[in-house]
């Protein structure tokens, strides 16, 4: 793997390698010195075109624990409004010698473009692009579930909420199905893509029917503003039909866990009691996020630098 753009590009073996590596990285968190020299001398750029403090600091902590040099490049706003294009930003990073570029962008496919444009040579890690994907979130979710449920093979996982606009849902459906889980997405019909035949999951409009058959339930953030576009009539009605409260939570099997990628709308898609309950692994997800991002950075960047260039030089010298 050179880039991490889509959870769909990750094979089962690769996913397990990342999860196993993250397990080792996580053990580091319990030690007094939380730092490894693995990426010493490497530069990781956090290129964030959208505000996301949580994701950025998670990547920043991960890179620093691996001794990488970290540059935070916050370029909020679209290329058009900012006056500097994605291309110029990429060329700037290339000129500075970025080994890894962690990209968060409001436009679906922007990391894909960075990786394939030839503008820069570094590895590109998709840290969330538009309404497309957020693969490291899916990896940390899978990691968290695996720690609680063991192998995800045959496990029933329910993802609830604004699937249409959710990059978290897309990446999770792809990754969890690769890992053998049976995924069901639950949402009002307006918040599901119109044609989901290509998705390796089941769909349902009925949360109450899905919960008793769930080993894990992941609540997605739902923006209240969606109701202005008639995706649902009111926040209250959404909560009534698709929110997870203690009564609904009681329908879950005993060992089932509750996840949320954050930030939560307490009282909207998840009640405060559920978020703070013993089934909730939401805070743990954050801890695991650092371990997963360490694993991804390590696996993508720890090879010897510019191996291809070195090989060419050697060849020329011998010839």
């Amino acid at each position: 793997m050179r880039h991490l753009l889509s959870a769909g590009d990750v094979s089962r073996d690769e996913a397990n390698l990342i999860l196993d590596t993250a397990e080792e990285m996580r053990s580091l968190a319990d030690r007094p010195i939380k730092k490894l020299p693995a990426l010493r001398g490497r530069t990781v750029v956090n290129l964030f075109f959208e505000d996301s403090t949580r994701t950025r600091i998670s990547f920043e902590a991960a890179a620093k624990r691996l001794s990488a040099d970290v540059i935070n490049f916050s370029a909020k706003g679209s290329s058009v409004s900012k006056g500097e294009s994605l291309k110029d930003t990429a060329l700037t990073l290339q000129a500075m010698g970025a080994d890894g570029v962690v990209c968060r962008h409001g436009s679906s496919g922007a990391p894909h473009l960075l990786a394939n444009s030839g503008w820069l040579n570094g590895s590109v890690i998709n840290a969330g692009d538009g309404t497309h994907e957020h693969p490291t979130q899916a990896l940390l979710d899978a990691f968290t579930m695996r720690r609680h449920l063991g192998s995800l093979d045959g496990r029933r996982i329910t993802i609830v909420g604004d699937v249409l606009h959710s990059r978290v849902a897309r990446s999770n459906v792809l990754l969890l199905s690769t890992l053998g889980a049976e995924v069901t997405v639950v949402a009002p019909p307006t918040l599901l893509p119109v044609d989901m035949t290509a998705w390796p999951c089941a769909t349902s409009y009925d949360l109450d029917a899905a919960l008793p058959k769930s080993d894990a339930v992941m609540m997605l953030r739902v923006q209240r503003e969606r109701m202005n576009d008639a995706f649902f009539p009111s926040a209250r009605e959404y909560t009534r039909r698709y929110g997870l409260d203690v009564h609904r939570m009681a329908q879950l099997p005993d060992e089932a866990i509750v996840l949320h990628p954050g930030p939560m709308n307490r009282g909207m898609e998840i009640s405060a009691e559920v978020a703070d309950s013993t089934r909730s692994v939401i805070v743990e997800q954050v801890t695991n996020g650092v371990a997963i991002r360490m694993a991804v950075l390590y696996l993508l960047l720890s090879g010897s630098p510019d191996t291809s260039t070195d090989a060419t030089t050697t060849e020329e010298t011998t010839a």
């Binding site: 473009l113 249409l164 897309r170 893509p193 044609d195 290509a198 998705w199 576009d229």
Partner: protein, 445 residues
């Protein structure tokens, strides 16, 4: 402008609209003779000496009436960094066109007699093909107030086609009034059929793929609902309605059903919708971003069938040049549109002729006769190649193959979706009223 006007041309042994092989003698802007061995026997008859005549070898070539594009964005005035009337008409001539209709979404918008006359005059000065300005339906393309359609119709540009292309005349009452109003001067309203509320933020065809790619969908129904509405509105007021760049299977079915009922409507399809599919969006390369979006294989089959059976009247390029920076960026920030003048005939040959779905005679109908009739420019354009007709024609080498290289385009812009594709057919020569605009596949002047 031209250093040495060529008045008299003898085209030898070309296949006339894909049929009989004959010589064509052109003099003073007209076809004066069609027959065999005109070089031996025909010249004297017309009072011409051999040395006065420029001979163009037509062996193996198909002679077509000069192509007429009903949908071209020339970008001037306002976006001369993307295209000018001069560069756009050069590209048109290289594509075999002798007339283009220039869309109104310039800056300022072509919504007054002043702007349409400017574009018309620029076209005459360029001299590569005739430029017929299209007038905006509403002031500033804003969809709220009718532009001065009559003033544009009465201007030197003699506008007959009106369109807010790029924007849909979404207000049903306004569309009704526009259709009614243009009856006074025999105008036609060309609708960009896109229900705006159903396509807010739309980026690509809505379907299985848009959901996976996380790109906001542009559903077929947003096109089809407007087409259905406008056909009914037009039936009610008895005017002339033309549908721009029809792109879906459902749209073909609606137009077909309307025509079967005897309702008056004409429709166009673009070359890119005849060939390309939405799958290309998976690359996130914005060169494939266009409005209406590339659709599915099923839609492509349907528009081909519609074009072949005459449901879709014409091919129109929707040539939409954009500067590099508007395409060299992330998908959602990129402009919609593709260039198409220089590749249109090749794409049609590839999609319709080489697949044995259509003949060259039918291509002449869909790309010259009918667009000229809809645009009401038949005085000079869209006439069969017969003695006495204006010498607007193009010669195509159908056996030739070429690989599309964006940098070789005469357009100022490089946003061709056919980059790197090998396509059949090559325009060898184009004549505008007898004067070559293209010879040996290159601009003649």
């Amino acid at each position: 402008m031209s250093p040495r006007p060529i008045n008299t041309v003898l085209i030898t042994g070309a296949s006339i609209v894909g049929g009989e092989v004959a010589d064509l003698l052109i003099d003073n802007g007209q076809i004066v003779a069609i027959g065999n061995d005109l070089g031996q026997n025909g010249l004297a008859q017309h009072g011409l000496a051999k040395e006065e005549v420029e001979v163009v070898e037509g062996k193996g070539l198909v002679a077509l009436p000069g192509l007429v594009d009903l949908h071209t964005h020339l970008r001037e005035p306002g976006r001369e960094d993307a295209e000018t009337v001069l560069t756009g008409t050069r590209a048109a001539a290289l594509g075999g066109f002798t007339a283009v209709h220039a869309m109104a979404n310039t800056d300022p918008v072509a919504d007054t007699a002043g702007v349409v006359e400017q574009v018309w005059r620029l076209g005459r000065e360029a001299g590569y093909c005739d430029v017929f300005p299209i007038g905006a339906v509403t002031v500033g393309l804003k969809g709220t107030q009718l532009a001065e359609l009559g003033a544009m119709a009465d201007s030197a540009a003699r506008v007959r086609v009106f369109s807010d292309d790029g924007m849909c005349v979404w207000d049903a009452a306004l569309m009704r009034r526009a259709l009614e109003y243009v009856k006074a001067f025999g105008g036609v309203v060309a609708q960009h059929a896109q229900e705006p509320r159903l396509t807010q933020g739309a980026q690509m065809n809505e379907g299985a793929l848009s959901g996976v790619l996380g790109l906001t969908g542009w559903p077929s129904v947003a096109e089809e609902s407007i087409i259905a509405r406008d056909i009914l509105l037009n039936a009610h007021v008895g005017s002339k309605l033309h549908i721009c760049h029809l792109s879906t299977k459902g749209s073909v079915a609606i137009v077909r059903a309307a025509k079967e009922r005897g309702l008056d409507v004409t429709a166009e399809v673009t070359p890119h919708h005849l060939l390309l599919t939405e799958d290309l969006a998976a690359s996130y390369n914005p060169v494939y971003k266009v409005n209406p979006p590339l659709r599915t294989r099923e839609d492509v089959e349907a528009v081909r069938e519609g074009l072949a059976d005459g449901t879709i009247d014409i091919v129109a390029t929707d040539h939409a040049p954009h500067p590099v920076e508007d395409k060299d960026c992330e998908w959602s920030a990129a402009a919609f549109g593709m260039t198409g003048l220089e590749t249109a005939l090749s794409v049609v040959q590839h999609a319709m002729i080489d697949t044995k779905v259509m003949t060259w005679a039918e291509v002449a109908d869909r790309m010259s006769y009918r667009p000229a009739a809809i645009g009401q420019v038949t005085a000079d354009h869209g006439q069969p190649l017969v003695v006495g007709a204006p010498a607007n024609l193009t010669l195509v080498d159908p056996a030739s193959q070429r690989t599309v290289v964006p940098g070789e385009s005469a357009s100022l812009s490089r946003n061709t979706p056919f980059d790197g594709m090998t396509l059949p057919g090559r325009v060898v020569a184009t004549f505008l009223r007898g004067t070559p605009t293209v010879l040996d596949g290159k601009l003649a002047r």
